[in-house]
């Protein structure tokens, strides 16, 4: 038998998930110098994960990595298997039998909970639902949000929180030429939201916003940011944090906040209140959300490690709509170990570990399911290169017998008349979205139902 990864004996790898970490893993494999066959599995007919369904519609530049992914997908060593759910349609064991290695890049698909009374009242939602809804994710297509409310509260101050805030704050004119889902645009056109509170448990010097996203809140057509100047008086520990080299982003955020305070307010239809040092302790309402009770926090601890501690002081804010955006967790995969606390697969250097902490040969992970929901699109490139380097270092130890790849899965894939979506099929769907966007002045008008997408494709011939 010739060497694994040679032309006579290609390395066959399954990649599970088609977001940034999946495509960068595929790219690293293609560039490895080995002869590889990469089969990527995606549960939706549409590839690209959070670049399609997470990045805000009004940030089109951040979707340009899709061009890079498209280039990878057109590599003859790569195949796409869309509309296939690993763990359901194809088991992990079936993949292990069919491939030399499997790289899981399934992301962090669910939200952390607040863990407070009233969290599940109607009117209280996850940011994931709302983001998926406005981005046309089929799972969230039919969610509804009561935009007839006047006050919305967003718990969390990361970039997802700020995306949710901006979509609520923008006018329809600011959104209608983006690829926002049509159903969302229609609903937002009727929005009566006037106040949006963006709430963090720590102070302004600890907010996780990136400068650019934060600045944007001051550049909206019909919405002004509001900051309580008292919140900008920092303690000595926070001042020390800003003066650290690592404090550059926070320092600029403080300057942006001071700019918000200094600017004259306009007669706007909407206002965003940037609120700090508040933790929600209860959501109240008779049958639906009517108010949120916060406890005021103070910061405790040395510079760089300050934590929010409750002061006992409470305040209640009437609100009818709430989104939590306090972190994300991956979802367990049948047949794989799972670290439920962190919401990730247990790994060491990208290798998946069993419950005893030993490496499971041939199983790897990259992206948010490996390291948790940190970093931005490009962070996943370095992460996937690291995982693929571990995989390549393991080549001598992998089960080096010939592997059938997806040919062995055809029976499973054909079960239940499942229409497997190839990359060529996706390009048909993609073109149809772009075409129907033209008349609306949108870069694309997304299909938001799986059946709609599959309906564009010829019935598979056996």
């Amino acid at each position: 038998m010739s060497v694994l990864g040679s032309e006579e004996h290609p390395l066959k790898v399954a990649v599970v998930g088609s977001g940034p970490s999946g495509f960068y893993a595929a790219e690293a494999l293609v560039r490895s110098g080995h002869t590889v066959r990469i089969d990527m599995f995606e549960r939706l007919p549409a590839p690209f994960g959070l670049v399609r369904h997470g990045v805000a519609p009004d940030h089109p530049k951040l979707k340009e990595p899709i061009r890079v992914y498209d280039g990878i997908a057109r590599n003859p060593q790569f195949r796409f298997f869309g509309n296939v759910t690993v763990g359901r349609d194809v088991t992990v064991d079936a993949l292990r039998a069919a491939y030399h290695a499997v790289v899981f890049c399934s992301g962090a698909e669910t939200d952390r909970r607040l863990g407070i009374p009233g969290e599940d009242l109607p009117g209280s939602h996850t940011a994931t639902e709302f983001v998926g809804w406005y981005n046309g994710h089929p799972d969230y297509r039919d969610r509804s949000f009561d935009l007839g409310q006047e006050v919305a509260v967003i718990i969390g101050q990361g970039n997802v929180a700020i995306d949710v805030c901006r979509i609520l704050a923008k006018t329809v004119d600011e959104l209608k030429h983006t690829d926002i889902a049509e159903h969302a645009l229609d609903a937002l056109a009727e929005s009566r939201i006037r106040e949006i509170h963006l709430v963090g448990r720590r102070g302004p010097a600890q907010a996780k916003f990136t400068n650019k996203e934060f600045r944007e809140l001051g550049e909206l057509a019909d919405c002004d940011p509001v900051v309580d100047p008292a919140d900008l008086t920092l303690g000595p520990e926070s001042l020390a944090e800003l003066n650290e080299r690592s404090g550059t982003v926070a320092k600029r955020n403080m300057e942006i906040l001071q700019g918000f305070v200094a600017r004259p307010s306009r007669a706007c239809g909407r206002r965003v209140f940037l609120r700090f040092l508040l933790s929600p302790v209860e959501l109240k309402g008779g049958g639906r959300l009517e108010s949120v009770v916060f406890e005021r926090n103070r910061l405790e601890g040395p510079a760089g490690q300050q934590a929010a501690r409750g002061t006992g002081e409470r305040l209640e804010l009437p609100c009818g709509l709430l989104f939590r955006s306090i972190g994300y967790k991956g979802i367990a995969m049948p047949g794989l170990p799972f670290d439920a606390k962190q919401g990730v697969f247990p790994t060491r250097d990208g290798r998946i570990l069993d419950d005893g902490g030993a490496v499971i040969p041939g199983l790897y992970a990259s992206g948010w399911i490996k390291r948790g929901p940190t970093g931005i699109i490009g962070t996943n490139r370095a992460d996937s290169v690291a995982t693929v380097n571990a995989l390549l270092a393991d080549l001598p130890q992998l089960d080096t017998g010939p592997k059938p790849g997806a040919d062995a899965l055809s029976g499973l894939l054909a079960a239940g008349n499942r229409r497997v979506v190839s990359y060529a099929d996706w390009l048909v769907i993609d073109q149809a979205e772009v075409d129907r966007g033209v008349a609306k002045g949108k870069p694309r008008a997304k299909f938001t139902r799986v059946e709609e997408m599959l309906g564009l494709l010829p019935v598979t011939t056996p």
């Binding site: 400068n211 650019k212 600045r215 982003v249 600029r252 931005i376 699109i377 490009g378 962070t379 290169v385």
Partner: protein, 101 residues
């Protein structure tokens, strides 16, 4: 808006930036790297990973470094693309220390 590599990259060329670029917009000569602003999506992923803080988003670029916008725009497109981590230039660690990082 664009993102630019500035003078601190000279004599260092650590290339950590290229590992996190989602769109492969870095190009390089023997001295340093440059960003092709026609390709860069201004995501900012490269900014915090530079060991010598050579990369700035334009909005944060100090006044006395403004010329780097034009230098990056002129030089990047004609130079080879750099997409994988390379060894830093000899003396890069000393240069880093000299710069105070």
């Amino acid at each position: 808006m664009t993102t630019v590599v500035t003078a601190n990259c000279q004599k260092c060329r650590f290339t950590d930036c290229v590992t996190v670029c989602p769109v492969a917009c870095f190009h390089g000569d023997d001295e340093m790297l440059y960003i092709d602003n026609n390709v860069c999506i201004d995501c900012g992923a490269c900014v915090p990973v530079c060991p010598v803080h050579a990369i700035f988003e334009e909005a944060d670029l100090p006044e006395d470094m403004q010329m780097w916008v034009a230098i990056n725009a002129e030089r990047a497109p004609g130079l080879p693309s750099v997409t994988e981590k390379e060894d830093p230039l000899p003396g890069a660690e000393a240069r880093k220390a000299e710069l105070g990082y």
